[in-house]
Symmetry: C2
Subunit: 244 residues, 2 copies
DNA sequence: TGCGTTTAAATTGTCAGACATTTAAATGTA
DNA sequence: TACATTTAAATGTCTGACAATTTAAACGCA
């Protein structure tokens, strides 16, 4: 394993970075056991708490997992899809909420990415993903639904659309774009009329996918984008007026 | 702040998760100072090292930053684009390298996402992004270039293509897809003939963007995808044969 | 008064040593 | 052999201490 250079940042950050590079470069392979905390402390010439802080940093990124007991220790972790989803969604959500990203920019990115899925989704959609989409459409038509529940259902619908492409890498990449929009969408008040309009677009998308018509799905998606954009702009305009 | 329920996982993980939720929910706002480690230890009824491990977990995700000295402490961090890029690329690269993702699936996802950018890129490309693309094309034509350098240049070219869309959220999302492919591409040996072919596709893409022709760019991109796929399949076939 | 210097306080970073807890292998026993 | 017990190794946690760093306040001097 590498050694730390002179001095700069925290020791625990340096050690974590050194181990992370080993993993990324493939020199530490999957399920391989790292030296014990005591051995690492000895190797890097630091105390055990410092090593532990470094290992916790790696654990937070799902790079390692730890097990107690004899023959326990820290092991290079196989990054699972659920873990990767979680990381990506956390990062994306924070990036959008903390950097004053305009609704327009986020919306444009999300729908551009979703349109990338529609050709594949139209070709590969399954009865299963279609059923999910239909179920969410039905839920979105229920009168008593709160705005927040409506948004959550919207996310589920769009994730089913993405999953229809049957490409797990694509689903992973899109999860961030779709989920991160939810806080922004939650600022919108959905009137009965706007809900009806959205349900209409969703139905058109589901129908098009069912008939394997990629172009029709893409067209409906684009119209939904334009409509969502107007909803978002209304909210932003109202907010700007209220702030004066 | 929330309290931990009965018992289950590590205390440091529980505490980190509690604080993370506060941040994600916006109850801890940007640049806000968290209580000192001693106060947190008191609040959660744990020792200071345990609190520190929790804070290091959050720091590893760029959720907080720490400063020493009086009036120092842990502060909610504004997640910057470079930090988000780094997180996303790390996660994406590991996900692909550790889960036996087929070259085909990764390739399909990447090019589907890139095609989502071309309409915007064709409309908004700047002299700057075009110049970057031209420079990389020129580099890719140099005879002495190693395969690894060729790959790195390829990544730079495609990132310039993505950046041409002038949507930072899109650039962020695509960074993972483009960069994570590099280790897979590095397995390919680029002959003089395949390099020439790729440079040809790149030139067609740059030309199309320069003339604001989205369809032509998309067509060239699709052909490049098909060509990349054959290169990847040749490598995989050779590997499979060598393994017998 | 005004300004530079010194001091003090608060906070994170690091260390040392200890004990608790968990796990699986080794051992002992019926 | 089968099962219970012991043991060893490792992580999880705690206590207490000191070092390093940074800012604010106190101080001294012209």
């Amino acid at each position: 394993m590498k050694i730390d250079p002179d001095n700069k940042a925290d020791l625990s950050a340096q050690i974590a970075e050194a181990i992370r590079k080993e993993i990324m470069a493939g020199r530490l392979i999957i399920d391989e056991r790292l030296p014990s905390e005591a051995e690492l402390a000895d190797h890097f010439a630091v105390s055990r708490p410092t090593v532990r802080e470094a290992l916790k940093r790696l654990a937070a990124q799902s790079l390692i997992r730890t097990a107690r007991g004899a023959f326990g220790g820290a092991f290079v972790n196989r990054l699972s899809y659920p873990e990767a989803y979680g990381q990506h969604i956390t990062t994306s959500t924070l990036l959008l909420s903390m950097n004053a990203i305009s609704f327009d920019v986020a919306c444009e990115a999300r729908y551009a990415l979703e349109r990338a899925c529609t050709p594949l989704a139209a070709a590969r959609r399954t009865p299963d993903t279609l059923a999910t989409m239909r179920a969410e459409i039905h839920r979105q038509g229920q009168p008593g639904l709160t705005d927040e529940s409506f948004c959550a259902s919207d996310v589920t619908f769009h994730r089913a659309l993405v999953d229809s492409a049957a490409n797990p890498v694509l689903s992973y990449q899109l999860a961030g774009a779709v989920e991160a929009m939810q806080p922004l969408m939650n600022m919108i008040t959905f009137t009965a009329r706007s809900r009806e309009a959205i349900v209409g677009f969703h139905t058109r998308i589901a129908d098009a996918l069912e008939r394997h018509e990629a172009d029709a799905a893409q067209a409906a998606l684009s119209e939904l984008e334009a409509y969502t954009l107007t909803l978002g702009r209304d909210v932003m305009a109202a907010r700007a007026k209220a702030a004066t």
